[in-house]
């Protein structure tokens, strides 16, 4: 990674850290908190779909499992928030394992449908398992987290918790992406048979991806529960899973910054489009189609395409030099040895 890129990232983090100093509107801060929480869930989906190529339309259900676990441990058992948050991560990761394992044999459409089915079942459980979930009424009175004497009870304070979580999750995703494990995940996405023949235990790595996606969603769900302090089943529907998918694709599915940008934009967009009132979601649907038709690599792909276009000095690592190397060079191949 170049120093210029590191500088950019540091700059963006700096601006993000200073935002609450200038922005005092609770409304804007709520949205930023929400966008950050969604960004975590979307990054988790990015590890599963973007890196590994395994479709999931149940990310919102995993978010729900995290939210309810955290809410139940704090309101029913009186646990402090931090261990409840850890429990939420572990619970969602375990469910990720339980869902991922039977889904290993599936891919593509089959996997999409199996995960939709899981999401619908999960939501029905949230609605009907009243002893734990309190049914459609949801759980209220979820406590805010606390660091020593400092209670994160305002949206401005909570913002820093979300920001730290987003940065940590982005760091983990980035380390995975750029090292051996990430290359193995990408190999499975690109060609599972070749990956296996190259020595990659595809089963194991796919499960890792499911578990990581679950853990990310679990953290996001817990953060959401302690942020808005009230949860109910309708926040974790199939439609919300679709929104996460669209955020990911809009950003650029295997890009970490893309996942964050996608989450941020699509959380803010409804507010910007408020003048459109009820037709907002319709426009959103049309935008999804337009995006996928005209912007195959997402926003991040669009940016880099624009950059290469306006910076002609960028070395064009396309097929041209490769084509030239077509001539017999065979370095390292010494003289003929008769058979």
């Amino acid at each position: 990674m170049g120093g210029r890129r590191a500088l950019w990232i540091a700059g963006i983090i700096g601006v993000a850290a200073l935002l609450p100093v200038f922005v005092h509107s609770d409304y804007v801060l709520t949205l930023l908190d929400l966008a950050g929480i969604y960004a975590i869930a979307v990054m988790g989906l990015g590890i599963l779909l973007g890196f590994t190529g395994q479709m999931s339309l149940a990310q919102a259900a995993f978010l729900g499992i995290g939210a309810y676990t955290s809410a139940w441990f704090t309101t029913h058992l009186g646990w402090p928030v931090w261990p409840a948050m850890a429990a939420a991560i572990v619970m969602s990761a375990l469910v990720g394992l339980a869902v991922g394992y039977p889904c290993l044999r599936l891919s593509g459409h089959y996997l999409a449908l199996a995960t939709i089915g899981f999401g619908i079942i999960a939501q029905l459980v949230l609605i009907n398992w009243k002893a734990v979930t309190n049914g459609s009424d949801g759980i209220t009175g979820i406590p805010p987290p606390q660091i020593g004497p400092w209670v994160l009870d305002t949206y401005g304070k909570y913002y820093y918790l979300v920001l730290a979580a987003v940065l940590l999750c982005a760091y983990i995703a980035w380390r995975i992406k750029t090292t051996r494990v990430g290359r193995a995940l990408h190999a499975i996405r690109e060609n599972e048979i070749a990956a296996r023949a190259t020595g990659i235990d595809a089963t194991r790595y796919k499960i890792i991806a499911f578990v990581l996606a679950g853990a990310y969603a679990g953290l996001a769900g817990s953060l959401l529960a302690h942020d808005i302090k009230f949860i109910s089943p309708d926040s974790y529907s199939f439609d919300q899973s679709v929104v996460f998918l669209v955020m990911l694709i809009l950003g650029g599915s295997s890009s970490i910054s893309g996942a964050i940008i996608g989450a941020l934009l699509l959380t803010m967009l409804p507010e910007v489009l408020r003048p459109l009132k009820s037709s907002y979601i319709m426009v959103y649907g049309a935008a999804v189609i337009a995006m996928i038709v005209f912007m195959p690599q997402g926003l991040v792909g669009l940016f880099s395409a624009l950059r290469t276009r306006f910076e002609p000095r960028t070395p064009p690592r396309a097929s041209a030099p490769a084509g030239l190397s077509n001539t017999p060079s065979a370095a390292g191949a010494p003289g003929a040895e008769p058979a």
Partner: protein, 305 residues
């Protein structure tokens, strides 16, 4: 548990009726999948949208964009009108959501069809509001008595029309040139193109046919429930599940899978749990995926190394 044969017969009839709906929608999935290798996640909107158009012209008064209109027309004219409109809809859908992405693999198409689904649901809400609308039934009575049984005539109509459509489809595929071209395209597009079949045209026709199957299911099922923007979503997901249970890509599989899920779900909702009735289809699905991924009629397909 007390087992009442009359109740069971009645459950069987309603199960077969709802199962017929799943079967028709599942057929729509399978035909498109066979032709172009992708799943259309807007299939449910092929059911919902025509139902809204139909009620607009069937009721003495409907609210369109908040304005009350009185466009009531005779039933048969309405049905014909809806079918014609949906032909155009199928063509447009192919043009917008599938055609531009046809060389880009399955995921972009899945996402664009999800986009269409979001668009249509909310277009429907804007146009017709969020209140459920009741579609008038063709029948003047709710149930008819056959001995001790009380059966909804609408159920019988659904089962009858589905049987006719399946017979028609059999005729189409086995006896007509168009049907044979559709089958050839489904089997191998490259070869189909080589022997002179206009594959693009066959694909368009498939989308239209699939839209019409959805339309007919919508017109049949709407009088049993109500017309809402959500009406197609769950039907389509269960139909998709049915097509996998039956063996994805298999036409008899889609029919049998649809009927089986309809019947099991109806009995399960009555005897086991009405709260989890919508989970039943997916529990069956996950069981099938785990233990017999090829489904009831499917051939086991493994990727060639």
């Amino acid at each position: 548990m007390h087992v009442d044969p009359v109740a069971n017969m009645q459950l069987l009839v309603s199960g077969l009726a709802i199962g017929s709906i799943y079967a028709l929608v599942a057929l729509g999935f399978v035909l498109i999948y066979n032709a172009v290798g992708v799943v259309n996640f807007a299939q449910g909107e092929f059911v919902m949208f025509p139902s809204y158009i139909a009620v607009t012209f069937l009721l003495p008064a409907t609210a369109v964009f908040g304005t009350i209109v009185h466009w009531q027309l005779p039933v048969l004219i309405v049905y014909a009108l809806v079918l014609v409109l949906m032909v155009g809809f199928g063509l447009l859908f192919n043009r917008i959501a599938y055609h531009p992405l046809r060389d880009r693999g399955w995921l972009p198409v899945v996402i664009s069809t999800i986009g269409v689904s979001i668009f249509l649901r909310n277009a429907a809400q804007i146009t017709w509001g969020s209140q459920p609308i009741v579609m008038p039934s063709l029948f003047t009575v709710d149930t008819i008595a056959a001995g001790p049984l009380h059966i909804r005539p609408q159920d019988l109509l659904i089962i009858g029309v589905t049987a006719l459509l399946i017979a028609f489809q059999y005729f189409l595929f086995e006896r007509t040139t168009l049907g044979k071209q559709m089958r050839a395209t489904a089997q191998d597009r490259t070869t189909a193109r080589l022997i002179g079949i206009r594959v693009g045209r066959i694909v368009s026709i498939t989308f239209v046919y699939s839209a019409l199957l959805g339309t007919i299911s919508g017109l049949l099922v709407a009088p049993l429930f109500t017309v809402t923007k959500e009406m197609g979503g769950l039907i389509a997901l269960k139909a998709f599940a049915a097509s996998i249970v039956g063996g994805f890509g298999s036409i008899p599989g889609a029919i049998v899978g649809g009927l089986a899920i309809g019947v099991i779900e109806t009995f399960g909702g009555f005897y086991v749990s009405s709260s989890y009735v919508d989970a039943i289809a997916f529990i069956i699905l996950i069981g099938v995926l785990l233990f017999k991924p090829s489904g009831l009629f499917g051939e086991r397909v493994t990727e060639k190394a």
